[in-house]
Symmetry: none
Subunit: 201 residues, 4 copies
């Protein structure tokens, strides 16, 4: 087996294991067993455990970005209907994630690298939150406040995903000084997007 092939094989095995058991619960010994190579051999291809994980992530993000761009080549953005354009972009991303659930898990899941029982707890708590939102959206549909054709499950995940990301971006990663103002502005913008969308009329 060629060096490049072998390196790729190690990455494939690692992806499976990291995705299934998380970073800390995947041991080098698991990887070498799965790849059917000797313990030391792995260090001929990667400088350490981190290096493997990072290689995977870099490759995953790269492919994601390429997937997004690739199919847009040859399409004149300005000739596309705006909605079609957005649609195309979203479809590309979703296709990428749908194609490779293991890599998607590495890129998307929260709390990877935690012990299994903690992950369970997190999932349970998360589901409680989603349930609450789901109930409200259902109620909104019944009372004719929300569109009858709204997919409740999807809308709930959409909203929670958007809002949590924003909360993390503005209040954890970049802590702003004037939070109160921010909250109002941010809220208004979200509401505005959820009301009239993002397109110019």
């Amino acid at each position: 087996m060629k060096a490049e092939e072998r390196k790729q094989m190690i990455l494939d095995c690692s992806k499976k294991l990291f995705s299934k058991h998380g970073y800390y619960n995947t041991q080098i010994s698991d990887i070498v067993k799965s790849a059917n190579i000797a313990r030391g051999t792995i260090y001929q291809y990667f400088s350490n455990k981190d290096d493997i994980f990072i290689s995977l992530l870099e490759a995953g993000y790269d492919e994601w970005k390429n997937t997004i761009s690739a199919e847009i080549e040859g399409v004149d953005l300005l000739k596309l209907e705006p909605k079609e354009y957005l649609s195309l972009r979203i479809k590309n991303s979703l296709s990428y994630f749908a194609k490779d659930p293991e890599m998607s898990n590495l890129i998307l899941r929260m709390g990877y690298g935690l012990p299994e029982n903690l992950v369970k707890t997190i999932n349970r708590l998360d589901e409680e939150i989603i349930a609450q939102i789901t109930d409200e959206i259902t109620y909104g549909k019944e009372t004719n406040i929300l569109r009858k054709d709204l997919n409740v499950e999807l809308a709930a995940n959409f909203l929670i995903g958007a809002i949590l990301r924003i909360a993390y971006h503005y209040f954890v990663k970049n802590v702003t000084k004037n939070k109160k103002d921010d909250i109002n502005k941010i809220t208004d913008e979200i509401v505005s997007m959820m009301t009239t969308g993002i397109f110019a009329s």
Copy 2:
């Protein structure tokens, strides 16, 4: 110091440390040092390291849910303008996260529990994705496709948060059989929400 106070103090110290260094890189010895108690004392209040982390998460989610609900009490949902209602709900959540960034970090950040250098890599890759989306939104504004008043940074995070969450929900957590159909349906729904919002006209 009363037992309840001491337990709370341990939780506070743990929250700081878990939030800053993640689950695996926070050692029991760090916590006891920070709480200025003896190694064994912590096991009088918690049965193990997991228990501390779980206690924190449970409390955090609880407070989040209470924050959401609390201020809605006494408000007649049906008497509120739909947009006002949505606004109130979002504001409550954001307020909660803005108020306690450490807990927010535990609840919101992806990849907690990973070694610090991996988190750095993830953040870098994430930023590259956001940059790409940001560019496109900016371009969309310049070309009058998107609303001139759109906050680019916020819209980018909004979109990426919503889409990643949905990708995780449909393609990692609940793997569907007919992915192709799903992708199309999901995409249409997202586009629809981003175009005409979620409200009944």
Copy 3:
């Protein structure tokens, strides 16, 4: 409750636990829970864990010795038939052990204080040895070498008990210089006892 009564109650609880789980697997916290007293109280009656165990053993051995002697008082040794005398002595000891199995366990069992799975292993190995001896005694009876009325199970335990004790006494506890001579002499004496008994003809 009087101090003396309470001390006795602690000893009773300890005896049960030590007998059931061994020295190392009986924790002070188990004892205080079982005795329904506070953690610190136990140290008002005993200086430490060892002290409790030793107190139990001392009391047990004392009672054993008393049981042996007690019923002999008033009996003129020389007026008793030799066999009756031996019989009385053995019966007294057996009665003592039969009366208090928990204490007997503390005094008699080999390997107490070991983790449970080790004890299991020891028991298994011991049974294998006994099985081997049992087989031989059975064969000896069938071939008319041994008395037809011999209780096989009892004889096997009798022999193994006697021999192991002697081996321990002469070769572990008091290591002798001239082992070869010793082995021969010891063997002869055992055979002699097993042939014509211990009594003067």
Copy 4:
């Protein structure tokens, strides 16, 4: 050093230490120090501390059983005088224990696995019991009840070993319902063996 040799060396070092200090007071760190290997190396050969101890016991019992059987091969049991046969068997066992006192200690000693001071106490109490029996046997000889040529020390250990083993077997391990009957029967059998031996006349 070959793998098999190294494993054996670890076992040898462990045997010494377990025999000297007992199971609980022999630490893994003591073993690795004594074997002059790294802490982790021991776990390449044994899965845990128990495993080492069990390996030792299994090997010890195996060798014991082999020692017993080995030298009997080629000897026609039926052509041997009964006493010679018994003699051979006992000699074999004693030889085994005399040859390897450390292993013998693991197999024979009561209470291994207890803290050193407890073992001391047990030994003291045990000696008191033996002293009492010794005294009586001496008296029996002086009064011509017991054979003049009886080795007092040996006979005392013989009797106590046999009786304690039987007590443990019948009253601790297999608790019988009708103890009183049992005691009488057992006593009679013991007395019978100590009077006319085990052989068919």
